[in-house]
Symmetry: C2
Subunit: 249 residues, 2 copies
């Protein structure tokens, strides 16, 4: 079965990595829209237009399911991607699996503990994580962290500047709440999951990749198998300057 | 006289601000390609294509001269912009005025002192600053500083994280050379000129905006006049999430 995985750039590789590991019998097509990265600072109209174009590219490559491994596109443009792909192709975003995973992790904490969503400006501005989480949990914060992706792409994943920046973003929440759930609402952030965890002792840091794998399994009937599935790589600007080469988390 | 000022985003406003102040009798048209910002991580082919499209837009708006207030486009795509604008419209890049300003500042130091160019990855990769400077000065370094633009756009222009990051980028040069010239090779950097100066005591930090104003005057015959010139604003994605609103330096 051919599965499309789409991201604005390279962040979706953290999701791809998990899916390849779990479903080695599948054949993945990874599409990175490197000509237009980043989506996180663009207008909604622009993100919808670009995402729909990527949906068409994946449909033309014959994929039978699309995983939108980009929080910005999942928050803003899921309907447009579904229209572009046609009703025969299930389209799975990262937001709902992330919300489910955060709520599951929340069950070990009292209801007065917060869920803190860390994401790009565009994802926070969409408000979708907050809306879905607040339907099930009373205390939700969304924090835009625009410097984290550039730092990850600089390779500063365990650098004092990174730790200081994370402290600026999450320190105020930790000082008010000794425990809670932090949801990594950007597919780059698994590369710094350890650094976020270090800044939030007593909290649970949730990466949605495993939850996405479960949704993929239930949507397609794919069975887990060990090994490493093949991947076709498509980049809309193949000569874009690679931000970084990092081992996958 | 109608003068086009082009940048990939909002950084060119630091150049525009200087030009407006010096030439209040002119009428400026500022074009920010916010649908495609940043240029600094894109391939050369992509930067050439996008820059040429912006040249056509400015020509159609009737400008009589174009200032390319974007180091990446100036380093990579000046010829393409000149072709798009046609031979009747002078096109002024920021690289050559910056080089002239750096060499002029160098005259107060011994020849063993370095010129250090701070710029985006794409500008450094083009090697143009280094090539032009080395024709006149023996010791030149080019340092890519990919985190500075995101920090400026976050408004962290006097933040401990910014100072720490600048130290990472320029500290090694300061430890080997007690004096020299640092050229701000990105139009965002004038917003943090004071922070760069603080990290390089004994050095001269050069911002090319004044040198660009001199070239504009000699290319067009524009005469300085006091006041503030009018500006028409064009953004290719007018709804792009504004990175920041900062007072102009």
């Amino acid at each position: 079965m051919k599965i499309g995985v789409f991201d604005s750039g390279v962040g979706g590789m953290t999701v791809l990595s998990e899916l390849r590991r779990q479903f080695s019998s599948a054949h993945f097509v990874y599409l990175g829209d490197t000509a237009n990265v980043p989506y996180g600072t663009k207008s909604s109209a622009q993100v919808k237009r670009l995402s729909a174009a990527c949906g068409i590219t994946l449909r033309e490559r014959g994929v039978e399911c699309v995983v939108v491994a980009c929080n910005t596109a999942s928050s803003i443009a899921l309907e447009e991607i579904r229209e572009a792909c046609g009703s025969a192709i299930p389209v799975i975003g990262v937001v709902e699996p992330g919300v489910s995973a955060a709520l599951a992790a929340m069950s070990q904490y009292p209801a007065s503990s917060p869920v803190l969503v860390l994401a790009t400006k565009a994802t926070v501005k969409s408000g979708l994580y907050g809306k879905l989480l607040r339907e099930k949990h009373p205390l939700v914060f969304e924090q835009a962290c625009p410097l984290l992706v550039p730092m990850i792409e600089e390779g500063w994943t365990d650098h004092p500047v990174l730790h200081h920046t994370i402290e600026e973003y999450v320190g105020p929440y930790r000082r008010r709440h000794s425990a809670g759930v932090a949801l990594l609402g950007c597919t780059h952030y698994p590369w710094i999951q350890a650094a976020v965890q270090r800044a939030l002792p007593g909290w649970t840091v949730v990466n949605s990749a495993q939850a996405i794998a479960s949704v993929l399994q239930s949507s397609t009937g794919l069975q887990p198998a060990t090994g490493a599935a093949p991947v076709d790589w498509i980049f809309t600007d193949p000569d874009a300057i690679p931000g970084f080469v990092l081992p996958l988390p």
